[in-house]
Amino acid sequence: MPLDANTPDLRTEFKSVGTRPNRPDGVDKVTGRARFGADFSAPGQLVGLVLRSPHAHARIKSIDTSAAEALPGVKAVITYKDIPEQEGCDKDVLVNIMARGTALYDGHAVAAVAATDAAVARKALKLIKVDYKVLKHVTDVDEAMKPSAPVLHPGRFEPVDYNSLETASHVSGKQETKTKTREGSNIAGRYVFGHGDVDKGFKQADIIVEHEFKTEATHQGYIEPHACVASVSSDGMAELWVCTQGPFMVRDVCASLLGMDVSRLRVTPSEIGGGFGGKTTVFIEPVALALSRKAGKPVKVVMSRSEVFRCTGPTSSASMWVKIGAKKDGTFVAADAVLKYQGGAFPGSPVEMGAMCAFACYDLRNVRIVGYDVVTNRPKQAAYRAPGAPMSAFAVEGVIGEIADKLGIDAIDIRLKNAAKEGTVSSYGPTFGPVGLVETLEAAKAHKNYKVKLGKNQGRGVASGFWFNFAGNTCVSINLNVDGTLALALGTVDIGGSRASMCLMAAEELGIAYDDVRAIIADTSSLGYNDISEGSRVTFSSGLATIKAVRDLKKRMCGRAAKIWGIPEDAVKWENGAAHPAGANAGGFDPLSIKEIAAQASATGGPLAGHYEINAEGAGPSFATHVCDVEVDPETGAMKVLRYLVVQDAGKAIHPSYVEGQYQGGAVQGIGWVLNEEYFYGKDGTLQNAGFLDYRIPVCSDVPMIDTVIVEVPNPGHPYGVRGVGETSIVPPLACVANAVSSAIGVRARTLPMSPPKVLAAIEGVAASKA
C-alpha cells in the first residue's frame, strides 16, 4: 500500500526499532501494581458463581432455584430464562454460556448466582436443584463420526453416507453403513483443499510413506483464570472490566446476547495474564452482566482453575492420516491427507486452518487435504496459538522425517529441496510473495546446535512450520502533550509487550526518544473498533496504524511550523524530531523541535493529535524451522530435551527481546503438547485432570534454554517490514520432538502425548520385533 509521498515506503535504517528498552508497563508488573482481571473491584460488588453440569451429556428436565433465592445474602439467581434469545445473536455462543435444555459437556453452565460473599454464593449453588436425564455421550473424534454415536445436535448436520467418505479405510466406522437420516450426524463440515492430480503423482514416487496420527486436546494454559466485574445500572448503562484479548469483541457480543445497545456498554480491558487464543470469546462476561442486571449491583465473577479447564476452550483433539510420495532424490511428488478435528460441542474446530497449513511449507504439484469438523461432548474449542496448524504439522513433518531417514537424506536438505518460496503456489491456493522458509532452514543448518555430536540414546529432530498471520481492524490515536511528550492510545490488548513495540515505532517515526512516548490500552468508548489481539496481528496492524497516525501528526506539526514561519506547508519537512525548512528556498529558519511546537500549540491553533483507522491487510506469513535434541532413558521411557533451537522469520524484529520471547514461549508450549499435556476423559465423559497437578504444563526444570535465531525477510505489506511472530513458533515442536525421539531410539511415536509409559511400550515393541 502506498504510504505518504515524502517517506520511503519501506524503511530499512533504524534508530529506535531493533533496540531493547524496558517496557512501559514493566515496573508495574514487577512490583505487583499492575491490575489484572481479578484485581479490579467495584464498590458494593457481589460475588458471582456459576453452577455447572456434572454430566457429559444430559437433558435438563427442570431447574428449581427457589431455595437458593430464599437464602439470605443471595441477590440474584439466573438460568437461560434470564438470557432470552435475541434476534441475530450467535446461537452457539448463547447456548455455550448457559445451557438451554441440554447440557452438552461436563462443566456446561446451567445456572448462576450473585451473593454478598463467596461463602453464601457457594451455599446457594448447592441449593439449586437440577433434574437431569443423563444421555449417551461421545468424546473421541473417531467415535463421534461413527453412525452408532449419539448425535449431539439432532437434525442440525446432514446425515452422512459413511461409505462415501473418501477417507475409505481411514475413517473409523467404515463397516458401519447405516445413516441416521432423521438425527443427522456429528460431522459439522467437510473441507477440501489442494491442486493437481494426487493419484497420478503417487505413480511417479520411488517411495511412499503413510501413517495415522493422533493428538489429544491441550489447553492454552494461561496462568490467569478468566475474570470480570460487571456493573449494569437501572437505566441500562453498563460497565465491564475484564481480562480479554478483544474488548471490542466482548462489548459487541455481550450487547448482542443481552439485547443492549452497543453504546450502553463500555468495556475496559485489564492487564491480561496470558491468552494464546483462549480469551478471544466470551464465557462469564454475559453471565456477569445478566447477574448484575438482575441484582442491580456490580458483580464480580472469577473462574477457578478447574472451571478454566472444564469449560473454556482447549484446542481440538485430532485424528489424522498423511501420505507423501517422493523421488529417490527427495523431491516430493504427491501428498494426501485426511484430518479429523473435534471442536467440542459446537461446530468450528480449526480443521480448515489445519488443512491449509498442513503442506504449506512445501512446493507440491499434486496435493489434496480433506478435513472433517466433528462435534463431541467436550467444551467448545477456542483458538489456541496457530489454531489447527500444530496437529497437521505433527503428522506431515513426521512423515517427512521418515522419508528423509529411509532415503538417507539430511532432514534439513530434504526440506530445502521442497521448500516453498516466492512464486510457489501454496497447497491452500494462493501464490506466495517473499517468504523466509529457505532462510530459516539455512540458518538452522549453519547453527552450532546442528553440529553437536550426539551420544547414546540421544537423537535430533527437525521440523518446519507455517502460519498465515492476520491483520484487521485497527484504530490508533496519538496526542501531543504540552511538553512535547506523547500519549499513544491503542485498542489492541497488550499480551506480551506490544506497548513497547508501538512506542519504538512511534519514536522511530518521529525521531524522538523512546521514553517520550507513553502507550496505553484504551477502553471501548475511547477509540474506534479494534479487532481482537489474535492471529499474530498486533505488532503488524497496530504498528502500521501507529506509524500512520504519527505520520498524520507529523503533517499537522509541519503545518504549524509553516504557519509560524509564514511559508507554504509543503516547504516544511520533518527530520530528527523537528520541523525544518525543506530547502534553501524555503527560507533560513531555525528548526522547530517537537517541544517548541508543543509549547506553542495552544497559541497557534489548538491541540495537536494524529490518528489512523484502517482495516489493515498485507500481513506476511511467517515460517519457522526448529531443531531439537533429546535423550531417552530406555529403562523408563522418560525423555529429556537437551537442546532446542527456534529459527523464525520476523520480517523485522521491532523489540528483539519480545520476539525471542514469543519464539521461546511457543516452543515450550509445543514441547508440553508432546511430553505431557492432554485432556483426559473418564468413561463417564467427565474431565479427569482439571488442574495443574494432573494437567501438567512444562515447568522450569523440564526444559533447557531455548536458542533463537531471528531471520528477517521484510514483509512488503508493512512500512518497516514487520511480520507477525506470535503463533508460528508452536507449529513445529510437536513433530520436532517426535522426530528427535525416533532418531534416539528408533521408535516413531504417532500418538501424543508421548508420555514415558507410551515411549517405553514402543521401545519394548521394537525390541520384541527384533528378538
Binding site: 508488573k29 514487577v30 512490583t31 501494581r33 491468552g275 509487550g497 527481546s657 525471542e660 515450550v668
Partner: protein, 186 residues
C-alpha cells in the same frame, strides 16, 4: 463460622485484619487488604503465582490459612522494592524481558529472592529446580532463568567488592539456615 481477629506483620508493617477461618492467606491479602500483587492461578498450590514468604520461608499463600498467620512475618511482592528502588531481581526481570504477560512475575520474583538469600551462586539446574513450583506459560522460562542467574552474578560481585573494602564485616547471606520452602520439601 465466626470471624477471627489476626495481628501480623506484612512487609515490615503491623497489620490487623478479621477473616473467616476458611479463608486462605491469599484471600486475605487480595480481598481484605487490597494487596492484589500476589496472584491466584490455581488456588491449589500448583502454580506458585501466589508465592509469599512466611518468616522467610517460601510458601504458597493459597495453602496457608489467613487465621494462622498471627504473630508471623509475611513478605509479599508489594514489599520487594525499597521505596522507589527496585530489588536487583526486579530490575533484571525488567531489563531482560523476563516477563511477557506478567501474571507469574510476582511469584517468580518472591521465589527467586528466597533462592538467592540461601544460595548466591546457584547453578542453572539449581535455579530450574528451585523455580519448578512456579508456572509460566508465556516465556518458556529462558529469560527468567537468565535474569535470576545474572542477578546472582551481580550480587556476588557486589558482595566481593564490599567484602574487599571491609573484610572484617563480611556478611553472610541472610537466613542461610532457614528451612527449605514448604512446597519444595514435598
Amino acid at each position: 463460622m465466626s470471624a477471627v481477629h489476626v495481628s501480623t506483620k506484612i512487609n515490615g508493617d503491623d497489620v490487623e485484619f478479621v477473616c473467616r477461618p476458611d479463608e486462605s492467606l491469599l484471600d486475605v491479602l487480595r480481598d481484605r487488604l487490597g494487596m492484589t500483587g500476589s496472584k491466584e492461578g490455581c488456588g491449589t498450590g500448583d502454580c506458585g503465582s501466589c508465592s509469599v514468604t512466611l518468616d522467610g520461608r517460601l510458601v504458597c499463600s493459597c495453602l496457608v490459612m489467613g487465621a494462622e498467620v498471627g504473630g508471623h512475618e509475611i513478605g509479599t511482592i508489594e514489599g520487594m522494592a525499597q521505596g522507589d528502588k527496585l530489588h536487583p531481581l526486579q530490575q533484571k526481570f525488567l531489563e531482560g524481558a523476563a516477563l511477557q504477560c506478567g501474571i507469574c512475575t510476582p511469584g517468580f520474583l518472591i521465589a527467586a529472592r528466597a533462592l538467592l538469600e540461601r544460595n548466591m551462586d546457584p547453578t542453572e539446574t539449581e535455579v530450574r529446580y528451585w523455580l519448578a513450583g512456579n508456572l509460566c506459560r508465556c516465556t518458556g522460562y529462558d529469560k527468567i532463568v537468565r535474569a535470576v542467574m545474572d542477578t546472582a552474578k551481580d550480587m556476588r560481585k557486589a558482595a566481593a567488592k564490599s567484602s574487599a573494602k571491609k573484610p572484617a564485616a563480611k556478611k553472610s547471606p541472610a537466613k542461610k539456615t532457614a528451612k527449605k520452602g514448604a512446597r519444595h520439601a514435598a
